[in-house]
């Protein structure tokens, strides 16, 4: 019998069901099954490409002996969809479905077990050919299985600054008054943030668009003098779709920071292609979150991999405080007060500390530079510094550590 191909499944199953009577219990997943369903769902979210999704799900499902054949219905069905189809198709009929199976070479053989009303297991053989499944399903992300920090360190916390100032406002063609909001970042915010973190001896990583070197050079020079890291954040806060222009923007941004700071940036927070980044000498990127500790991303061609320091919007100040974040409309705004954000960030810190993972907090000078948020950040830093074993490296420091000790297999010399 074939799941995924509904008409046949329907026909075949219905015979069993009708023959054995009405089933009434709903499938209750075990904890493990629930977790794995979550894993499947989560991985689906991560991958945009339909084909890759299909391959991934095939790989996951094969652990459970659910057959992988080309269905006639909509594809890809998640495991939940498969079961839901059953529940939907057989209105009034609920099935407890447990699937077990084994993988034999390229063929899956498994069984679909359903308990009917009388509690009798109804078994159906399932089988499929998986020769369509690809081998490099996990090629996009390479998670570091057993990341160990240096002796005595439980948690690494990167404080990163997205030094956008008014560039993003200008990019979105926002009116003049909105640009003054960004200007606050260069004029006031960045200085306050540097002063705050210097007070507690924490080195920042400033992800700086190339144009900021022309607008606020004093602040960048000061940042270098005080020992903070300056990294790349595109040229004017966008990645052009044209390949030559993208290369040009990356080169200009790298050169701008190099000439102002005396050394080339090695990190980026952008969507630039990994191949271009590697050519310009970048060793890490910092954006998406397929894991909550540093991991490697591999690009589509499979040729280039780079360490990624994950960042999630929960730890991004603009998400809470910026009116119209990501161009969102008036009616969508829910401006927060610093206390709410402190609670969330400190809770994240407690959790990551317990789990010995990693934290990357994103601050925008035009947002966090306001006095009330500097005060909140100070409270947060004091609490963080209380705990033993918390390490505050720059992103470069942490990236070099991970790349040295936990390299991607392709990069091992």
């Amino acid at each position: 019998m074939v799941i995924g191909s509904r008409p046949i499944a329907q026909a075949a199953l219905s015979w069993h069901l009708l023959a054995k009577g009405m089933l009434k219990r709903l499938w209750v997943p075990t904890l493990e099954e629930r977790y794995h369903r979550q894993v499947i769902r989560r991985r689906r979210q991560l991958i945009g490409d339909r084909v890759r999704t299909q391959n991934r799900i095939k790989a996951e499902l094969r652990f459970y002996g659910i057959q992988i054949v080309e269905p006639r219905g909509p594809w890809p069905p998640t495991r939940f969809e498969v079961i839901r189809d059953y529940v939907k198709d057989y209105t009034g009929v609920r099935a407890k479905i447990r699937v077990c199976g084994f993988f034999k070479g390229k063929t899956i053989q498994g069984e679909l077990i359903m308990k009917n009303e009388s509690g009798i297991n109804v078994r159906d053989k399932v089988s499929a050919d998986t020769s369509g499944a690809t081998d490099n399903i996990y090629s996009k992300y390479f998670l570091i299985e057993n990341l160990q920090y240096p002796e005595g360190v439980r948690l690494a916390v990167n404080f990163t600054i997205d030094y956008d100032a008014q560039l993003n406002r200008r990019l979105k063609k926002e009116p003049a008054m909105e640009l003054t909001q960004g200007e606050f970042g260069g004029r006031v915010g960045i200085w306050r943030l540097m002063e705050l973190f210097d007070k507690y001896d924490i080195k920042l990583t400033l992800f700086t668009p190339g144009r900021i070197c022309e607008l606020y050079p004093e602040s960048i020079k000061q940042a270098i003098e005080r020992g903070h890291e300056v990294a790349n954040h595109m040229w004017e806060h966008r990645v052009p779709s044209d390949f030559e222009l993208e290369k040009d923007h990356l080169r200009k941004a790298t050169e701008a920071i190099n000439s102002l700071c005396g050394k080339k940036p090695v990190g980026t927070r952008s969507g630039h292609k990994l191949s271009l980044l590697k050519k310009e000498g970048y060793i890490y990127t910092s954006s998406i979150v397929a894991d909550d500790i540093p991991y490697y991303i591999v690009d589509d061609e499979g040729q280039n991999c780079m360490l990624n320091l994950p960042v999630y919007y929960v730890l991004d100040d603009a998400m809470y405080f910026h009116f119209g974040w990501f161009g969102s409309g008036n009616a969508g705004q829910r401006l927060a007060d610093p206390g709410k954000v402190y609670d969330i960030w400190f809770s994240a810190f407690r959790q990551f500390y317990k789990m010995e993972r990693y934290m990357n907090i994103v601050l925008h000078p035009f947002v966090s530079g306001h006095s009330l948020r500097i005060a909140m950040l100070e409270r947060l830093i004091v609490e963080m510094k209380h705990m033993p074993g918390v390490w505050f490296p720059t992103c470069e420091e942490l990236a070099r550590y991970c790349i040295d000790r936990f390299p991607h297999p392709a990069e091992v010399k």
């Binding site: 008014q166 200008r170 990019l171 926002e174 009116p175 003049a176 008054m177 909105e178 640009l179 003054t180 909001q181 200007e183 606050f184 260069g186 004029r187 006031v188 200085w191 144009r211 022309e214 607008l215 606020y216 050079p217 004093e218 602040s219 040229w235 004017e236 052009p240 044209d242 222009l245 040009d248 923007h249 200009k252 405080f321 009116f323 119209g324 409309g329 008036n330 009616a331 705004q333 401006l335 927060a336 007060d337 610093p338 206390g339 709410k340 306001h370 006095s371 009330l372 500097i374 005060a375 909140m376």
Partner: protein, 314 residues
């Protein structure tokens, strides 16, 4: 600052906390701005807007609650009054003057001026100045451009010409700018260093975005007075320690009702508990700042080092 037209309006770095000094050794400055407009669309206040229930509440009840509070605690506020409101409520405007508050201009109808061309905008600006001069027996010193509740952007709208027109019309200060949290000079032309003093504004201290926001019918959980209060209190506490300026913006038709009066009074009591807090009106603050930190010595503009490239935004 490496000035760049279209990106920057003032110099590269703000003043340090130690450099900022208020008169008579006061520790920090607190400005209260009362936006005496009513809810409207981007075209400004029209007859339907004024006839609404909350508008009536603001003009008949809310404003008097505010007057009462300010009198009780000896506070002075700057009332940003659109010309049309001055015409409709002359008694209220006279009361503002009599009680020692300042009346500043807030547009002709509190409209979004970015939609107007230069002639129309100039005409309305002159009309506003004239109307307010008649209503107050002296011309307004300051011009505000605060947002409406349903605006896309929370800073208030300006056209490309607004600041130039204000300088030409002889206004002493621009009431709201977000580039700093102390008064700063808004420069329109680098070579002539044409500028107008701008008072600080930040939308997190504007009750518009926390009380019944966005608007009845547009979601649930619209009332967030505690968020507003926390923002006010925490900013004031931090600003007091730094010795800078804190600006709060209120609307009579919002803050004058029920629970909001409690948080306003609590905020005032909190501020009153601190010694050496200066409470200027907009023009007092502007006059002091221009005398103490004139643009000729304190505005440090530097030639632009920006280069235009093909494929980059200029």
């Amino acid at each position: 600052m490496p000035w760049k037209h279209g990106y920057t309006i003032t110099d590269e770095k703000s003043m340090d906390d130690e450099e900022v000094k208020w008169p008579e050794k006061q520790q920090c400055a607190v400005s209260i701005v009362v936006d005496y407009s009513v809810q409207s669309g981007p075209d400004g206040i029209g007859p339907e807007d004024v006839k609404k229930d909350m508008a009536e509440f603001g003009a008949r009840v809310g404003i008097w609650r505010l007057f009462g509070l300010f009198e009780k605690y000896s506070l002075r506020a700057t009332f940003a009054v659109p010309a049309i409101m001055a015409e409709l409520y002359p008694d209220n405007v006279r009361a503002m003057i009599k009680r020692g508050h300042e009346v500043a201009a807030h547009g002709y109808r509190h409209e979004d001026v970015s939609r107007l061309d230069i002639e129309e905008e100039k005409k309305r600006l002159d009309a506003t100045t004239q109307i307010l001069e008649e209503a107050c027996a002296k011309r307004p010193m300051g011009w505000f451009s605060l947002p409406r509740q349903q605006d896309r952007y929370p800073g208030g709208q300006l056209s490309l010409n607004t600041v130039d027109l204000l300088i030409d019309a002889g206004y002493e200060y621009m009431g709201n700018g977000m580039a700093d949290d102390i008064p700063h000079y808004w420069v329109t032309d680098f070579h002539s260093q044409r500028n107008i003093l701008t008072l600080p504004y930040y939308y997190h201290f504007n009750d518009l975005f926390f009380l019944m926001f966005p608007s009845p019918g547009m979601g649930s959980g619209l009332e967030n007075p505690m968020t507003l209060f926390q923002n006010w209190r925490q900013e004031f506490d931090a600003t007091y320690r730094k010795g800078r300026q804190f600006t709060m913006i209120v609307h009579p038709y919002l803050i004058g009702w029920g629970n909001r009066l409690e948080i306003l009074e609590n905020m005032i009591l909190h501020m009153k508990g601190f010694p050496a807090v200066w409470n200027p009106t907009g023009s007092e603050c502007a006059r002091y700042w221009k005398a103490k930190y004139p643009a000729s010595s304190y505005l440090k503009l530097k030639e632009s080092i920006w280069k235009d490239y093909p494929g980059s935004i200029s």
